[in-house]
Amino acid sequence: MKKKTITTGNITIIIFIIFIFLLPTSALAQTTSLSLWPPLLEILIKPGKVVTQVYRLTNNSGDSVQIIPQIYPFIPLGDSGQIEIIYPKPESSTIEPIFFSIQGSDQLTDSMTLKPRETRELVLKIGVPRLSTEKDYYYTLLFSTSTKDETGSNRTSSISQIGSNIIITTSETGLLDISGKITQFFTPKIIDSFSPVNFLVKIQNSGINHFKPFGKIEVTGILNQKYGIPLFEQNILSNSVRQLTINSLYPKLSIGPFKSKLTVSLNQNGPSYSSEISFWMLPYKAGILIIVIVLIIIILKRILKRRTRGA
């Protein structure tokens, strides 16, 4: 009787316990995948006003994920439109003067759980105090996953944070302080006829408000070739320089001298600036190849001639 008990119930329990301990520890490693829209929010607002914006945050993974919203100021990093988030010092956790809150949350940083494949619409409320200084304020709204304190083996856990940038301009009148200039307009002096023409344009913002320069690069050739490259209206933040992303030019008849003129307006009512450069398009790579081929032909002919004479 006793023997039978051991071989059925107890064995089942033992197998179950062993199974529990053999569960793969790697199952702890989840994939986190978040999507966010919009990636950029720009606001021109009077001091004392409040606006709201809906953000769509999606958990693309097959697991629930706990999300914590955070907001930090940022400054431009480099000249390609990248940012450096400025974390508050431990003694001050404030990001004044702008007030942020998420509708339905007591505090901005209240955590929330997104189910697998869930898209949540979050309403961000942005308030500007009546007495705030009229200037630009730059922030990044971050949605952060969390990590659990778990005992285990030697391990590195990771937290994922996805951000969206917020550019706030406060102004009582809506009139902005725009000031800037073209700091660089460049393309190589000689460009191969088989290569595209790539222009380098850098614009400096020396004012207290950001602007989106618009304009174009006009290119004319000696054979009456005419081309235009419109500029994308990219933000240039206060006291920074930005290299604009510009489409490459593929001229139809890519030979001879060209002149190019960059015309930029800092905004629709702002001042305009222009800069001119010239360049040549020559098939120098193919030309070198042809010269090499001709030289080889001449040398081979001479060798054959000598051999014929020798024979």
């Binding site: 021109l44 709201t52 419109p230 994308f232 992303t245």
Partner: protein, 260 residues
């Protein structure tokens, strides 16, 4: 006989050069005719053209609103104008950030026996113009029970930091560091080539945010639109014979932000 020789010489030098030159002129790229002035993801549009899809509300009214359009009414009365998204990108695709596994288990560590584990990061900029991903650690690997730490690696030549990559080839070099292989990586890390297994020689330290003078380091960045940009982050860990026994852990934070 003399006349024949002269004629032959003329054909084989000057004429060949002229023929090649004429052929070359006709071979100038005609395919350029088909090139558009816009890239697949960019298209210049007029500033007020509707293309967005967010909702906006003021303190006194709620409005359906499309990104890229100027705000409602004159500024003096509404008190705000608002733009969502990028004016020059007409697609409404969210910015997406994926980290393949959020726990890296190193298991038991043995002296002078380095272990390498991998996390894969994927970014799709969607409607954002460009992006960057930064990395930082909360502190070096720590045994929470004793407070003992596995130091961040300093490399075979003692030249590795959070900003400078250096060689880590020796099994006697101990610490925690990372190497990268993928799209849009900073130098000197290799660009992704699916056909080739990356040779990992250069490593960096994770920026340690318990040291207040350190800031997160960029591990991936581009000023252009990109879909499924992928990066492998290789964690390498090794301990010395003097390492105190314990379970060592830390947390790495990856931050993906779009350009402005």
């Amino acid at each position: 006989m003399k006349f024949t020789s002269m004629k032959k010489k003329t054909i084989t030098t000057g004429n060949i050069i002229i023929i090649i030159f004429i052929n070359f002129i006709f071979l100038l790229p005609t395919s350029a005719l088909a090139q558009k002035m816009t890239s697949p993801n960019y298209e210049l549009i007029k500033p007020n053209l509707n293309f967005g899809g967010a909702y906006v509300s003021g303190s006194d009214k709620k409005l359906g609103f499309t990104g890229g359009q100027l705000g409602p009414g004159p500024y003096e009365s509404s008190g705000f104008q608002l733009w969502a998204g990028f004016w020059y990108i007409k697609k409404i695709i969210p910015f997406t950030f994926t980290v393949s596994n959020n726990v890296i288990e190193f298991g038991s560590l043995t002296t002078n026996t380095p272990k390498i584990e991998k996390t894969t990061i994927t970014v799709s900029t969607g409607s954002a113009g460009g992006y960057q991903v930064t990395a930082q650690e909360n502190h070096s690997m720590m045994s929470y029970g004793s407070g003992a730490k596995i130091k961040d690696v300093t490399g075979d030549n003692n030249d590795i930091s959070e900003t400078t990559a250096g060689d880590w080839l020796l099994d006697t070099t101990d610490g925690l560091g990372y190497s990268l292989s993928g799209d849009d990586v900073p130098t000197p890390f290799p660009t992704r080539n699916p056909a080739v297994t990356p040779v990992l020689t250069k490593y960096k330290q994770f920026s340690d945010l318990s040291n207040l003078t350190k800031s997160p380091q960029v591990i991936m960045s581009s000023s252009s639109v990109g879909e499924n940009r992928t990066l492998d982050v290789f964690y390498k860990i090794n301990i010395s014979a003097f390492q105190e026994a314990g379970r060592y852990q830390n947390v790495i934070t990856y931050i993906a932000t779009p350009t402005y």
